[in-house]
């Protein structure tokens, strides 16, 4: 494999393509100020088993009310890293971690943090739309019912609010009592987003949210993300580099469980510092 210098002077192999950099949405300035950091991952090691380390020495900062994309080839650990942020990995027996993840200054792995309480504030949207086999309304109301005692009227308002936030209200307002599974794939995924938003999380984790969707539905989710980041910090795992370019403000590239490079999306795509990043975003492996 030929190596190129880290600059983006077009010295790429024939046939290698970068995502069109014109599509890069973000105008994020390069240096990240300490007060902008919402999530600070510090020297994180993660093990699925005694001898199966999945993440090595991860140091990463995610800015508040911005979208951070985690990219990398399959099995690079990007989904594992995402699930460290709401401690979903702990549901698997035998997992272990070292290091720290600070969310707004609180160490998520501190002894006083309860993972169940944490997940109320760090919402998650999964790869495959996974609505509960209940009505549209009940899907959105479920999280609210878990955490708050609301009157029927308050609940109705919050459900509508969340569905509007997820750009789904107009499509489902006449069939709130219909089965959620009767919606299209894209609608189901927006319902899952509404369900997560209803409890007003600080962070929204999205694990390849569009991988099961068609381009039109994908477009809708991406538009939605750009609007949602006004209120929540978003971390998205995506296997689509063009999606990372379109939506994210900062991009982190992982490879074989290590963080190779992280920075403003424009810099990662136009002027990566690392050869590996350059090779990955030009599609020479992955």
């Amino acid at each position: 494999m030929s190596t190129t210098t880290g600059s983006s002077d077009g010295a790429t192999a024939p046939g290698a393509r970068r995502p069109p950099t014109a599509a890069i949405h973000s105008t994020e300035p390069l240096p990240l100020q300490p007060e902008e950091v919402a999530i600070h991952i510090q020297d994180l090691q993660f093990y699925y088993d005694q001898d199966a380390q999945a993440l090595w020495d991860i140091d990463l900062e995610c800015p508040r009310h911005r979208i951070t994309a985690l990219i990398g080839p399959s099995g690079c650990g990007k989904s594992t890293l995402l699930r460290c942020l709401n401690r979903m990995n702990e549901l698997i027996d035998g997992t272990r971690y070292e290091g720290h993840i600070f969310l707004e200054g609180t160490d998520l792995y501190g002894t006083e943090v309860d993972p169940v309480a944490l997940r109320r504030h760090v919402g998650m949207v999964f790869q495959k739309p996974n609505p509960f086999p209940k009505s549209v309304y009940e899907n959105v109301a479920y999280g609210l019912r878990l955490h708050q005692k609301l009157t029927k009227k308050e609940l109705d308002e919050r459900v509508q609010w969340a569905l509007e936030k997820a750009h789904l209200w107009d499509e489902v307002k006449d069939r709130l009592d219909d089965a959620a599974t009767g919606l299209s794939g894209g609608q189901q995924q927006r319902l899952c987003i509404a369900r997560a938003l209803a409890v007003e999380p600080k962070v929204l984790l999205m694990d390849e949210p569009c991988s099961a969707l068609d381009p039109v539905a994908t477009q809708k989710i991406e538009d939605l993300m750009l609007e949602l980041k006004k209120d929540v910090t978003i971390v998205i795992v995506t296997h689509s580099m063009s999606q990372a370019a379109r939506v994210s403000d900062r991009t982190a590239f992982l490879y074989k469980g290590k963080l190779i490079e992280a920075g403003p999306t424009r810099q990662i795509f136009e002027a990566p510092r690392e050869d590996l990043t350059e090779q990955y975003i030009t599609g020479r492996f992955g």
Partner: protein, 305 residues
């Protein structure tokens, strides 16, 4: 073969040979299927023909007695009540324990060599001959309980129910685990990801989804218990009681045990009564299985998957 390039879709010698092979195997399979279906049909028709003519009013309302057999007025009333009593107690004991064990093993127990071993053992226990459970029941629920708790030193309804409960526990545990396995991980993740506890996730999402499967397992376990005779013979349920009383520590003869005793009686009157009792057992089992299917379909439609 056509020379002008037109396609001729006709069978050649090779295809004829393949067709003959197919016909031969189809015949072999048909014979196998016929044997089981015809055999079963003959059995059922014979049973109905032998049993149904004797199922008159006395059959349902009278109990067993030697004089009743002689006068053709003996019935299955006491045996039916005994069966319902034993099965009711069995389910009350076994269902909560078995379901709880299945849920714990599948949802909460950490994966370790110990739990793997327990799981394998539970599956194996489901295949242990029922006579073995009879010996266990005799040793523990009759003798040990008599020695330690001062219970009657004989095969009581309670001892019978406990023995049958232990016998169907593995079936209940395995059925519960299998039902839980069908719940997609994505539903659990969705719930946990919203900040639900594990129990809330089980209670709100997993159990409603798995309920049809769990219920089906319970009903099938019930019908298994309804037909088990050997363990009840071993713990020593009596052939008949002169003065029949009902209660956990009383004793009596459930239907399947009664049918067994009557069938080994040489008198035609007894054999006829046995035939009637067997028809009742058969219909009860059939009804339970139909109920299982009905409940499963009903509940599955309620889940909007």
């Amino acid at each position: 073969m056509s020379g002008d390039g037109a396609l001729l879709f006709t069978a050649d010698a090779d295809l004829h040979r393949r067709r003959r092979t197919e016909r031969r195997w189809k015949a072999v399979l048909l014979v196998g299927a016929s044997f089981s279906i015809v055999g079963l049909a003959v059995l059922i028709v014979r049973m109905l023909a032998d049993g149904v003519p004797h199922m008159n009013l006395d059959f349902w309302s009278e109990s067993y007695s030697p004089s009743g057999i002689r006068g053709r007025t003996a019935g299955i009333f006491d045996a039916l009540v005994s069966s319902i009593l034993v099965l009711g107690m069995t389910m009350v004991i076994a269902v909560p324990v078995g379901t709880a064990a299945g849920i714990y093993l599948y949802e909460y127990a950490h994966k370790s060599r110990l739990t793997d071993w327990i799981r394998a053992t539970v599956s194996n226990l489901a295949g242990v001959p029922s006579v073995v459970y009879g010996l266990l029941g005799l040793a523990i629920f009759v003798r040990l309980f008599a020695d330690t708790f001062g219970m009657p030193r004989q095969g009581t309804y309670l001892a019978a129910a406990l023995t049958l409960a232990v016998l169907i526990l593995p079936i209940l545990i395995v059925a519960t685990e299998e039902a839980l396995k069908t719940v997609p991980a994505t539903v659990r993740h969705a719930s946990l990801g919203l900040g639900a506890t594990k129990w809330q996730t089980i209670r709100h999402h997993v159990l409603p989804y798995a309920l049809p499967g769990i219920l089906t397992g319970q009903i099938l376990a019930l019908s298994r218990a309804a037909g088990e005779t050997a363990p009840l013979l071993i713990i020593g349920l009596p052939t008949y009681q002169v003065f029949q009383t009902y209660g956990p520590l009383a004793t009596g003869t459930p239907l399947q045990v009664r049918a067994y005793y009557l069938a080994s009686d040489a008198r035609q009157e007894a054999i006829d009564l046995a035939a009637g009792a067997i028809v009742v057992l058969l219909l009860a089992t059939l009804a339970l299985n139909l109920l299982a299917i009905f409940l499963r379909d009903r509940l599955q439609n309620r889940i909007r998957w």
